[in-house]
Symmetry: C2
Subunit: 325 residues, 2 copies
Amino acid sequence: MEFTFLGTSAGTPTRARNVTALALSPSGHKPWYLVDCGEGTQHQLLRAHHSVMQLRAIFITHIHGDHTFGLPGLLTSASMLGRTEPLDLIAPVQTHRFITTTLENSDSSLSYPLNFIDSEAPGFHWQDDHAEVTNVALSHRVPCRAFVFTERNLERQLLQDKLRDYGIEPGPSWGELQKGHDVTLPDGRLLRSDDYTQIPRVARRLIVAGDNDDPTLLADASVGSHLLIHEATYTQDVSERVGPWPQHSSAEQVAKFAQQAQLPNLVLTHFSSRYQSGPHGTPNINQLAAEALQHYQGKLFLARDFDTYRLEKDLSLTCLSAENS
Amino acid sequence: MEFTFLGTSAGTPTRARNVTALALSPSGHKPWYLVDCGEGTQHQLLRAHHSVMQLRAIFITHIHGDHTFGLPGLLTSASMLGRTEPLDLIAPVQTHRFITTTLENSDSSLSYPLNFIDSEAPGFHWQDDHAEVTNVALSHRVPCRAFVFTERNLERQLLQDKLRDYGIEPGPSWGELQKGHDVTLPDGRLLRSDDYTQIPRVARRLIVAGDNDDPTLLADASVGSHLLIHEATYTQDVSERVGPWPQHSSAEQVAKFAQQAQLPNLVLTHFSSRYQSGPHGTPNINQLAAEALQHYQGKLFLARDFDTYRLEKDLSLTCLSAENS
């Protein structure tokens, strides 16, 4: 499972960070999913390795503009490129309304079916061949969701000794069983794939949270998850100065929760534009990392635009951009 | 009068060119106007010398997304920066509808008054202290306008000999007359500014056209204009291959018109993304210039993102970016 940050700034873009978007590839680069789509996401994609032609679904955490205003441009550009594959847009009903009105009032039509799916419907569940997705309600100024991605259809290992014990020699039936298909032999015996194969590892699961001032809402979802991607808009002192209204999290809050939930990997993102990079920047982005590290003993990263991460099959997290390790 | 291209690509952004937007300063940098606002315009402004806090008015040529999808982000970012000055949005009614619905469905409100002004109202006319603006209907797939900017309140020269002949010696009344104000003397005589001052040069006038397949519609407006900024989406051969549907102009078409209208300065923009820059790019952006130069004998420029131009008081046009001269 790989993912690339296309935007890591809260509210407004900066010269170094765009507003929120994340490209997630459950198995290599195609197909891929987009989580949130701030203005300029299609521009960021011009510099990343994901084509809008292979985009399978878009998940929108909440209706705020820094998570949605890139949708009209991305959707119409895909159309200008001649996309014909259907695209799922999993979003609140208001985002569907925004898109419909925008297309109507800009003389735009799409060359492909856009399937609106209500992200706030009770019991939300989405899946394709590669992943299944559920969500969790968060606490923000508007309804907001975290999306939980769990990989599907893991590779199976044949129990070869067991097969031979039952007199089933290598052949096409082995291949079918390994693909997860049940097989009926010429003599009428039914072989169930689950009986003759095993899945030698656990399914990778990661949580991509939207804006949220209460990470503990993710406690249940964190059980069995290997990674949390969560906003840390402020350091704790700034958060207290700003007051509760924006309903964002501090680095400390998220780190404490991740530690308590025993999440092995944590990536912070969605930083207030006040935090600068480089040796002379004040307040400095490193303060967010320093604060989080005081409370969290797992593997911590601060996201940067275009950084790509891989959640390996052994459940370790690798940042493929060396500078950020 | 200065202007900076913030986007020069047609339809979709490329890595070198954003979609359409132009910053126009009638007198130095503040206040300034924006003509069109493709997605990512607020990002481009982070690299230009114009602050959204000094933006006076936005003019939208037509409703297409590559000219409008940057509006919601730009408007809400100005709000997050705490803007309180009113802002005029001169645009088709459909763009007003797009903005209203988008703000409603993204939990956005603006910290300043946004004045919607219908750009397609008969007899459209807008002015502030620095410029007056009219428009011209063009020919495109949707209603589209060119905006004609004429500077106002030119500096006056006192007719000092005439004043002295009438016994009016230097003093505060001279200053008032020079500002264009009429003055009543203590003895009751009324001095009209127009009688005692002269304006030693003509007002600069430039046309910023939207998408258009018939430049001759600008014939009347070109009389007395010193510069035309017009789209040249294709070379003539590509235009013929594409067919009439997109309703864009070729470089040849615009150049022929500008020559016939005796326009002294022409800047082409809004290039199809098929045209590449650099020695190995095919088809090459230089083909558009070569084609235009065959038909036009005035001063020609091809716009690039972030190039700034100045229309001088002597009516000559200077490109302040040296590489493009």
